[in-house]
Amino acid sequence: MTSLILALVIGAAFGAVLDRVGASNPDLIGKMLNLTNLNLAKTIILAIGVGSILMFGGQMLGLVDVGHMSVKSAYIGVILGGVLLGAGWAAAGYCPGTGVVAAASGRKDALFFIAGGLLGAAAYMVTYPMWEASGLLDPVLGGSVTLGKVPGSEYDALTGLPGDILGICIGLAFVAVAFALPERLVATPSGRQQPAE
């Protein structure tokens, strides 16, 4: 029961914040990905940095349970799947989480995104044995690993560096990148039309 209340509270907070930062707005996703407005990228990069610093800092102070970490396996399919997701994300302007938020906010195109998503997930369920047999789901780089060894964690590490201190350093680097990133990476168009690349 407690876990369901937490699911309601944290889930609702996540949905509301995704709306307020503009992540469920396909216009802002498109402008981020065509590099004309990086405010959303700065938001996400800052969030990852803040999350890292608080989580690893909390672990070092003994306030955060290291056992709550959940590190996914690395395999070639992660990159291939990332490429597919990236292409669809750019075309539709939604990813799974923001699609749900957008549909709930009244965007009809997001309902079509979710319908397509349910069909895509079903297609994967049916074709899963083929991927498994291909070897592309076999672990690479050690599988479920972090960059450095996190004290008290069940996960192995890619390097011998201390994972918590490294995590805070990388978190700070994400914050620095969020500040350093310009608002726009491609040239401003002189007319209505953006110049050819």
């Binding site: 699911a7 990332g82 669809g88 195109d109 479920s144």
Partner: protein, 185 residues
Amino acid sequence: MALNWKTGGLLLGLVFFAAVLLVKPIGVSTQFVILDGIIGDAVNADLVTQTEDGYASTNAYLDKSGGKYAKSVANPLNYSFVFVLAMALGGFLSVWARGGLTRAERSVPALWRANFGESPAKRYAAAFVGGFVVLYGARLAGGCTSGHMMSGMMQTAVSGYLFALGAFGAAVPVALMMYKKEVSA
């Protein structure tokens, strides 16, 4: 309009931290599989069955890792599934509190309209195909923007960096090709 990136990034980071402090890192895309399983099991009751030590499925994907997805299909009132339902509720309340969306925003977004015209059918078709590709890819990768990119990189998971490399490596060129015309604001 969207929050300033400093405020927004701080709030989003606090939500990620709250999730890993209180329960576990945020993830979404698995729940599309769980909903598929719930629908599939309603149509064909043999899809997920209870065994002596848990749950099993005739579908190899639902059956993997000791039937953990089959278990979630059989018990939809679990943390991860309710989390995604709550995201919809939170998003709805947030949009409602700021006055809702315009009629145009609700069918064809402005950037899409500038580049591909006003036809809702064309936009809906693209969203449907995009959704198919996104979820197929997310399941192949074992996670999506939330689970791999944000939660993964937050934990310095090697898989999270690989995913981000693939995702942005494809998303930026596709967006540069598709959205050549800009819209203001």
